[in-house]
Symmetry: C2
Subunit: 167 residues, 2 copies
């Protein structure tokens, strides 16, 4: 039942960020799955993550609220699909908690499935974040919103946060 | 990890078919999860299910092709979300295999999550099929396509098939 289907990557539809980082994967898992440890690094500064709710099971809620420097709030609501501790975390905003389809599948903040994987690499971690989309329009929208820069900056912040607080 | 989130039913968004049937739930499970046993009853006659592919794991494919009496083919593609043998089967067409969002979330054949549950009831089964939608438009479309009649007729056929072939 936990057999994995790695995404069949399609460069026309998918975005990938892969990097080796020098913190252990158990801590990467921890900061991705605990609101207290997710909020400090999740949004590229000067944006902030001001709220986060996590119910870590398939069908469970993954909700965050980002705040712009001007004070505008942007809520994100999704649901977890697959959870393999310290290894692989999958969620989507195409479904809401309880696996209910999103009311507006064309909403501007996403409509993708995210797969974050972490493998031990020496004393650090080989980290990979993949965003898979259903069509080229959504992929393009996500790329133009700054997927690589945004997720890359968040990852830098994650590493700094882990080193400072959890190591 | 197998903790269940029963759908928070919303009459504006959901469709439910519940019935007591006099076949054991293990056989209901079997005919829902084996292509050979699904094809004979799945489509209300005179429609036919001419093809079926099942990879029974979260993220795995659930694909069927229905054929109208005039010979026109209607493919359906979805992915499994939750699998609790003899108890609960969840899949959606909002995501495709590997949890990839559907290319066209407004396609006319669905965009819903289905939850089929079976509980032992005497020597038979309390059977429930629930279709949860993201908005009222999709619920209405599904109801107008004949959800209750279609799923009801298929269930009649399921019972006849099980009694004739598996009991």
């Amino acid at each position: 039942m936990t057999a994995q289907i790695y995404p069949q990557l399609d460069p026309k539809l998918d975005l990938v960020l892969e990097r080796i980082i020098d913190v252990p994967r158990e801590l990467v898992w921890k900061v991705w799955t605990t609101p207290e440890h997710l909020k400090p690094w999740f949004c590229p500064s000067p944006w902030k993550t001001i709220d986060c709710e996590i119910d870590l099971r398939p069908g469970g809620i993954f909700r965050t609220t980002m705040q712009s420097p001007e004070g505008e709030n942007f809520p994100n609501l999704g649901c977890y699909l697959e959870i393999i501790p310290n290894e692989r975390l999958v969620w989507t905003d195409a479904l809401q908690p309880g696996f209910r389809p999103s009311p507006d599948p064309n909403h501007p903040f996403g409509f993708f499935t995210a797969i974050v994987t972490m493998e031990t690499h020496g004393t650090g971690t080989k980290y990979r974040a993949t965003a898979i989309h259903g069509n080229e329009t959504n992929r393009k929208k996500h790329e133009d919103m700054g997927f690589h820069e945004g997720w890359g900056t968040a990852l830098d912040q994650l590493v700094v946060y882990v080193k400072k607080n959890l190591l």
